[in-house]
């Protein structure tokens, strides 16, 4: 019984752990798809702790085209879904798994899944839908451009169109451009037509077979509309009724000029040079323009070839303009050439050979020779050897330029200065820092002034010695009663120095406020002078001694007191 209870408790304790174990499942959205379809491999898990999408081992021939992740939290339980969009490279039966997946709770074995991929169904016509591909010519030459027209005939609206397996070798092709086409009647039935055109230029001879597959979304008006009332579309894979075969030939060997470099079309050639009056060794810019239509994109205007008369440098393309058709236009090159001696009288003609597709024969076009006047260069001046400058880009010349020369002198010299004086030196530093120094100085003065204005006691105390000296000067000239003058001076000085109001100025108060720096002797003298003044003022006491002596005594005393107070 006890054992049963023990097992029961153990089982109860284990239960949450079993419930909490992450459940990982893997499934396919469909088990059979065609080659043009994709399938979703869906991984469900309840918080398996995947920080990144786990890697699923896939058999050869299956590729992941994309992944998406969705997380939902319901009743505090998290559930995650990871979708792997798969695409097969060939029709086959594929087995995914079994494999082991590592989760936060441990490893989990995922059972095998089977996916069958069948050939995609390709039709030539489908429910009033067919496609045509028409070349402007079925017999073309290498580097000759023809126009291809692709038309989709449909009784219903056609949505997106994809070309699945258009070959890409043996020719150059431009982007497909859609152009407007009216509805057409075919076999008594009205079709909507969507047409596209592109230019194709074969690059090698032989038979070129074009048998593309088109994936077309056809809007089905009879199908129920979607949630947002949009028409439903179904995807149809279409083929041409017959593959398009193009016979690509090379231009004939008969009559082919030596200078023929494989270009077809109809071209014109012109050349100009500047300057045409130079010293031997001076560079000349030769400008050659090739215009016309045909394989101009691949062609380059010819340049002058090296000869004893000229040292020539690599030409560079300076301009190219094409019409909207991409076939006709012009290309301009510039080439630096240097006449090596004064006997050179002209720049020889340059030539260009091509196969004229309209007259079906080779043509060689030439420029006219350009007359040149070459003067003898200075002895020992071998400027032609300076290659580096000529290979670097020169300023581009405009078509109307007649020549090049130095730009004329400046009419005014500008400010003439001694360059060494332009170096920022002590004077510059001084003039730059002076305003800040002045600012600081003014600020200091103003601060002190403001402080003084706010501290009247301090100001009085500070000014007391100055006022004392001023009063002492007056003491000698005063004709008033000596003690009255002395009292005025003492009260003014001590009131300011000790910050005492005039009413409190009596010997007792003064003695109390005197600082310790004042000696006893000085204190006694001060007390004596104050007593004498009071006696003289209130009791009308007589002045002892002569005025002159008293003045001298008082002067010595008060100056001594000022010194001791200052100390």
């Amino acid at each position: 019984m006890v054992k049963f209870l023990q097992y029961s408790i153990f089982s109860l304790l284990l239960l949450p752990a079993i419930v909490l174990e992450a459940a990982v499942t893997l499934e396919l959205s469909r088990s059979t798809i065609s080659m043009d379809e994709t399938v979703d491999l869906i991984l469900h898990h309840d918080d398996a702790g995947f920080t990144r999408n786990p890697e699923i081992p896939l058999p050869d021939g299956l590729q992941v085209r994309g992944t998406s992740r969705q997380e939902t939290i319901v009743n505090f339980e998290r559930e995650s879904t990871i979708r792997y969009t798969l695409k097969a490279s060939s029709p086959d039966t594929y087995t995914i798994g079994p494999f082991t997946l590592k989760t936060a709770q441990g490893e989990q074995v995922i059972p095998a899944l089977t996916l069958t991929v069948t050939e995609a169904e390709v039709v030539k016509t489908s429910d009033g839908l067919f496609v045509t591909l028409t070349p402007s010519r079925s017999k073309v030459m290498v580097r000759e451009t023809i126009e291809l027209t692709l038309s989709f005939y449909s009784k219903n609206n056609v949505g997106q169109i994809n070309i699945l397996n258009f070959p890409s070798e043996g020719f150059d092709i431009t982007e497909w451009q859609e152009f407007r086409q009216p509805n057409k009647i075919v076999d008594g039935e009205r079709f909507q037509v969507r047409s596209f055109s592109a230019r194709l230029t074969p690059t090698r001879s032989g038979t070129l077979e074009l048998d593309p597959i088109f994936q077309v979304d056809v809007l089905d008006p009879s199908a129920p509309r979607g949630m947002f009332f949009q028409s439903r579309a179904r995807s149809v894979r279409l083929k041409l009724e017959e593959p398009l075969l193009l016979d690509i030939t090379s231009p004939p060997a008969e009559g082919r000029p030596d200078s023929f470099t494989g270009h077809l079309g109809n071209f014109r050639l012109s050349a100009s040079a500047s300057p045409t009056e130079v010293t031997a060794g001076d560079p000349i810019t030769l400008r050659v323009e090739l215009s016309g239509s045909g394989s101009l994109k691949q062609a380059l205007p010819p340049g002058l070839k090296e000869s004893g008369d000229f040292q020539v440098y690599k030409s560079r393309l300076v301009n190219e303009d094409f019409q909207r058709d991409g076939l006709s236009g012009r290309k301009i090159i510039e080439q630096v050439i240097i006449p090596t001696h004064s006997g050179v009288t002209e720049i020889p003609a340059v030539e260009f050979s091509f196969y004229d597709t309209s007259s079906r024969q080779y043509q060689t076009i030439r420029t006219d020779p350009i007359p040149l006047k070459v003067l003898e260069g200075a002895p020992g001046q071998d400027r032609a050897a300076s290659i580096s400058s000529l290979t670097r880009p020169l300023p581009e010349a405009s078509p109307s330029m007649l020549g090049e020369d130095l730009i004329y002198l400046k009419l005014r010299p500008g400010n003439l200065r001694d360059l060494e004086n332009l170096e920022p030196g002590w004077d510059f530093t001084g003039v730059s820092t002076l305003p800040f120094a002045l600012w600081g100085l003014f600020s200091l003065v103003l601060n002190r002034r403001e402080k003084r204005l706010g501290d009247l006691e301090g100001t009085r105390r500070q000014q007391a010695p100055r006022r004392l000296r001023k009063h002492l000067n007056r003491l000698d000239q005063s004709s008033e009663d000596l003690y009255a003058t002395v009292w005025t001076l003492l009260s003014d000085y001590l009131g300011a120095r000790l910050n005492l109001p005039a009413g409190e100025l009596n010997p007792h108060e003064v003695m109390q406020h005197l600082p310790a720096s004042v000696s006893d002797e000085c204190r006694e003298q001060l007390s004596g002078w104050m007593s004498r003044c009071e006696r003289a003022r209130f009791a009308g006491g007589k002045v002892e001694g002569s005025d002159e002596n008293l003045r001298r005594e008082f002067r010595e005393f008060i100056l001594n007191l000022d010194r001791e107070l200052t100390a």
Partner: protein, 236 residues
């Protein structure tokens, strides 16, 4: 008095003496390039315009490397001048010289010349100090200080950078190869192994001196050349 002033103004144009700069131009127009050059070189002081005109005169005399030296100095003094650049390009095309582009800081600071940068910097210092002082007397200015001072500091930094970038001392260590071509040697000895050669007119950095040899540096190599083969850009 007024009448005299008007008369003086009226006659000022015709009676004003031609300056040496104008006289040199007259000589240049007459094809007397040697005399024009002497006159230009007698003008005291330096300016981009003067160096440019000397460069043109030297070009007419076929002395391209020396012309490049003057064009280069004009380019340093006024980096944005298209005439200087065009004629320098032309001289370079004729000699094959290697002329490195001006550093970015000088091209940027070329919107003003050195004196103007300094003037602007000093003016801003005075303005800033005046503003700082006047804040004591105006509450509105005191409030404006919150954004004026950061702005002032940024402007001072910019103008300070411009002043530094435009100082002529930056090109005082540049020189131009005078001969048609010069062999740069590993050691300052006439029979030392040649390291590389430079076409005339090439702009190089001047380094130390050893007797009558000068060590020069290009973008990727250095070596010794006789001193008389190099014309320094610094005023002599």
């Amino acid at each position: 008095m007024k009448r005299w002033c008007i008369l003086l103004l009226f006659f000022w144009g015709p009676i004003r003496a031609e300056t040496p700069f104008e006289q040199a131009r007259t000589l240049y127009d007459a094809g007397q390039f040697e005399q024009a050059l002497d006159l230009y070189q007698s003008i005291p002081g330096h300016s981009a315009g003067l160096d440019y005109n000397i460069g043109n005169t030297l070009m007419r005399l076929g002395r391209q490397p020396e012309a490049i030296a003057h064009y280069r100095r004009a380019q340093w003094l006024r980096p944005g001048d298209p005439d200087v650049q065009a004629n320098l390009n032309r001289a370079v095309a004729q000699t094959g010289a290697i002329v490195p582009p001006l550093p970015l800081y000088r091209r940027w600071s070329g919107i003003l010349d050195a004196a103007h940068w300094q003037l602007a910097f000093i003016s801003l210092c005075w303005l800033g100090a005046a503003f700082g002082l006047s804040r004591r007397f105006s509450p509105r200015l005191r409030l404006a200080g919150a954004w004026v001072f950061p702005l002032l500091i940024v402007c001072l930094l910019l103008l300070g950078a411009g002043t530094w970038a435009s100082r002529p001392g930056h090109f005082f260590d540049e020189g131009v190869v005078l001969n048609d071509s010069v062999t740069v040697r590993f050691e300052p000895l006439p029979d030392a192994t040649g390291h590389f050669s430079l076409p005339g007119g090439s702009v190089v950095k001047l380094m130390e001196q050893n007797r009558n040899w000068r060590r020069i540096r290009t973008d990727d190599a250095s070596g010794w050349v006789p001193e008389d083969h190099i014309q320094p850009l610094a005023p002599q």
